[in-house]
């Protein structure tokens, strides 16, 4: 599977995103890392251009309620609504239901082992993407 790891918004905290990107690459996935300070439009465009199966978004600045749904909306508008979007960062539990309702497949909060992310991709995303292609 091809994966995009994206830092959307102004947030420059990239320790987690880089660790996830590297762990997924080490696990055998093709991983593209967007780098910092991407707009939602840029992330959606890159996801489509790179023909990825899933996008992992990282936000630690508190802007997740605005920006995660925005990326999903843009993907959907461009006909790429089948790309799976997951996310992580500083996200209070209270916000998770709203994000899931907006279409985020899964939220990974601080302390999540990278193996959980890999498991999610293997067990929940890969089958979906195999059907879609």
């Amino acid at each position: 599977m091809r994966l995009l790891i994206g830092k959307v918004g102004l947030d420059g905290h990239d320790r987690g995103a880089k660790i996830i990107a590297r762990a997924l690459r080490d696990a055998g996935y093709e991983v593209i890392y967007t780098g910092l300070h991407q707009t939602a439009e840029q992330v959606a465009a890159t996801a489509i251009q790179e023909d990825v199966d899933a996008v992992g978004l990282s936000i630690l600045s508190g802007a997740h309620n605005t920006l995660f749904p925005k990326v999903i909306k843009l993907l959907s508008e461009k006909g790429a609504g089948d790309i799976v979007v997951f996310g992580g960062g500083i996200i209070p539990d209270d916000d998770i239901p709203g994000l899931l309702a907006a279409g985020v497949a899964k939220i990974f909060t601080p302390g999540t082992p990278t193996s959980d992310v890999i498991k999610f991709l293997e067990e929940e995303v890969a089958p979906k993407r195999a059907n879609a292609r």
């Binding site: 918004g9 102004l10 947030d11 420059g12 905290h13 990239d14 320790r15 995103a17 880089k18 660790i19 990107a21 590297r22 762990a23 890392y33 780098g35 910092l36 300070h37 707009t39 600045s61 508190g62 802007a63 997740h64 309620n65 605005t66 920006l67 500083i90 209070p92 539990d93 209270d94 909060t109 601080p110 302390g111 082992p113 990278t114 193996s115």
Partner: protein
């Protein structure tokens, strides 16, 4: 003459007669013991571990070169460290209330956290600010916000730290303009701007311009302050963020000092005398979990800096040799799981900072892995410092751990490792070249990944996360929420400022700033003129961006 009652033969004898037989029956808990930075720690430290140390030259006396034991002769017996809680939320009025609350609860210095748009030099109504306004700190777009932020707070009587980097010169100018309005002479102002762009490229990633113009702005603030605001700390050379990004303690120490060396070089290249500005360079370190490693790190920092300033740069003023530091407990060590455990972590980290001899301290709140600190959480964090100061007794004597075989040995080891990195960076041509090559960035990414693997493989324990995990945990603490109304309020205020200001004067001031940016003139006066005309943060930033350009990072992961 050997006393017949005293055992002879030292360590080897002990290992053979007592330790060996014991270990055969009772093996140690682990094969290897190491710090959180993976620095190996020996079973025992004894006189032979500090044999090479010279008391007068290496350890010395408080308030005297090389300041290993502290920069002030009486340290906390004379004055406690400043209890300076980092605070910022919502719009200026919310943060003003939090400032006043914290001062009332006994904190002794102010520290300002700005929101992400402000940190990145964007106004609250910028498209990129959507969803971000007031979420990570206070939103400041114009002098009007700054006036509200410090309303009712006499700037001549408090010291204020402002965590701002890329737009630091502008925010600094806003603070000075508020002081002007309050009638406080600039010479009376005390405070700090973080203003450390090197570590942005390395770790925190809050930049606007490329390195050269960014350094120009920093030296402009140094030059301006040396004359006009002599009590102001113009840079808070930071290791905190380098550590938060995943570096080891030795890397934090090394890269931060290398940054400091870079700033001194930049000042000298401008033509300033080192003793004219070096006394007002300050530092900012992290205090992470490994208690003794952090204490040793701070003691080593002072010793290295003193030697570099006197040796490498020939500084003559003792104040140039003194490394004064703020410390913040490690945000990255806190857990979202069982958040009340974070109170304990912070207490231990704060104690290490005090035993390490910091001048100023911020203690994290228990809920910071979830949101900005609630009033309840930040109060506990402040009380942690007050209890250490008033009840624990550690402030009764100076540098209590000096002479410990372990602590002195560890201090020397930290110094050795840091110097090795500093020499490497010297060989690369200095910190700017090292940053361009991606050297510190790669070291940090490697260290962060290695640590994550250690945690996931159970080789490093995080209580509540990979050991002593609670099933079906419910978060038992109140969480602070920043309502979306804050963003609307900020946009409205900004619109009003733009409507009511003298538009022609603002535009003229901005054009002047752009023109001056093309020269080598110190930009602080032009920035101050823009600020007084109620130009916005982004307008001023863009006026300079026209000349300076924008920085683009080549990401390594």
């Amino acid at each position: 003459m050997a006393d017949s009652k005293k055992p002879a033969g030292g360590r080897a004898r002990w290992e053979k007669e007592t330790l060996g037989p014991h270990i055969e029956k009772h093996p140690e808990r682990d094969v290897e013991f190491s710090t959180v930075s993976s620095l190996p720690i020996h079973r025992l430290y004894s006189p032979e571990d500090v044999e090479g140390l010279d008391f007068d030259n290496d350890i010395g006396w408080p308030g005297e070169f090389p300041y290993t034991r502290g920069v002030q002769p009486t340290m906390y017996r004379g004055r406690l460290w400043t209890m300076r809680m980092f605070a910022g939320l919502g719009a200026a009025e919310e943060t003003n209330a939090r400032f006043k609350y914290l001062l009332k609860q006994g904190q002794t210095g102010l520290s300002t956290a700005f929101d992400l748009p402000t940190l990145m030099g964007r106004d609250s109504d910028s498209p990129l600010a959507e969803g971000e306004v007031g979420k990570e700190g206070v939103a400041v777009s114009t002098l009007r916000d700054m006036e509200i932020l410090f309303d009712g707070i006499p700037l001549g009587e408090v010291s204020t730290s402002m965590t701002i980097n890329a737009p630091a010169a502008v925010i600094y100018a806003m603070y000075l303009a508020v002081a002007e309005k309050q009638g406080v002479p600039l010479k009376k102002l005390r405070g700090t701007i973080q203003n450390d762009i090197f570590k942005e490229y390395i770790a925190q990633k809050e930049w606007i311009y490329p390195p050269e113009p960014s350094v120009r702005l920093i030296v402009d603030t140094m030059e301006f302050s040396a004359k006009e605001v002599p009590q102001w700390n113009t840079i808070s050379i930071s290791g905190y963020h380098i550590r938060e990004a995943g570096s080891t303690a030795a890397q934090e120490l090394a890269f931060t000092l290398a940054d400091g060396i870079g700033y001194v070089q930049a000042g000298i290249e401008r033509g300033l005398g080192v003793d004219d500005f070096a006394p007002r360079l300050s530092y900012f370190f992290n205090s992470h979990n490994d208690f003794f490693e952090e204490i040793a790190k701070l003691r080593a920092a002072r010793r290295i800096w003193a030697r570099e300033l006197r040796g490498r740069f020939g500084a003559k003023d003792p104040r140039s040799w003194m490394l004064r530091t703020h410390v913040q407990t490690a945000g990255c060590s806190l857990t979202a799981q069982q958040p009340m455990n974070n109170i304990v972590r912070v207490a231990i980290q704060a104690l290490a900072a005090v035993l390490g001899g910091c001048q100023s301290l911020h203690t994290d709140s228990m809920d910071e892995t979830l949101c900005l600190p609630s009033e309840q959480a930040v109060t506990v964090a402040l009380r942690t410092q007050q209890i250490i100061a008033e009840e624990s007794g550690v402030a009764n004597t100076i540098d209590p751990l000096a002479g410990s075989y372990f602590v002195e040995s560890l201090t020397s080891e930290m110094e050795k490792q840091a110097l090795s990195y500093i020499r490497k960076i010297d060989d690369m041509g200095g910190i700017i070249k090292a940053i361009e090559r991606g050297f510190p960035q790669r070291e940090i990414a490697e260290a962060a990944y290695a640590y994550q693997k250690q945690v996931e493989e159970g080789r490093k324990t995080i209580v509540g996360v990979n050991k002593y995990v609670a099933e079906n945990e419910e978060v038992p603490i109140p969480l602070l929420k920043i309502p979306p109304e804050v963003e609307e309020r900020q946009r409205a205020r900004l619109a009003e400022v733009k409507r009511t200001r003298d538009g022609k004067a603002a535009l003229s001031a901005l054009h002047d700033l752009t023109a001056k940016a093309r020269t080598t003139e110190n930009l602080m006066p032009a920035i101050l003129d823009c600020v007084r005309a109620y130009c916005t943060l982004q307008e001023m930033g863009d006026a300079m961006k026209e000349v300076f350009g924008e920085y683009r990072e080549t990401s390594v992961f």
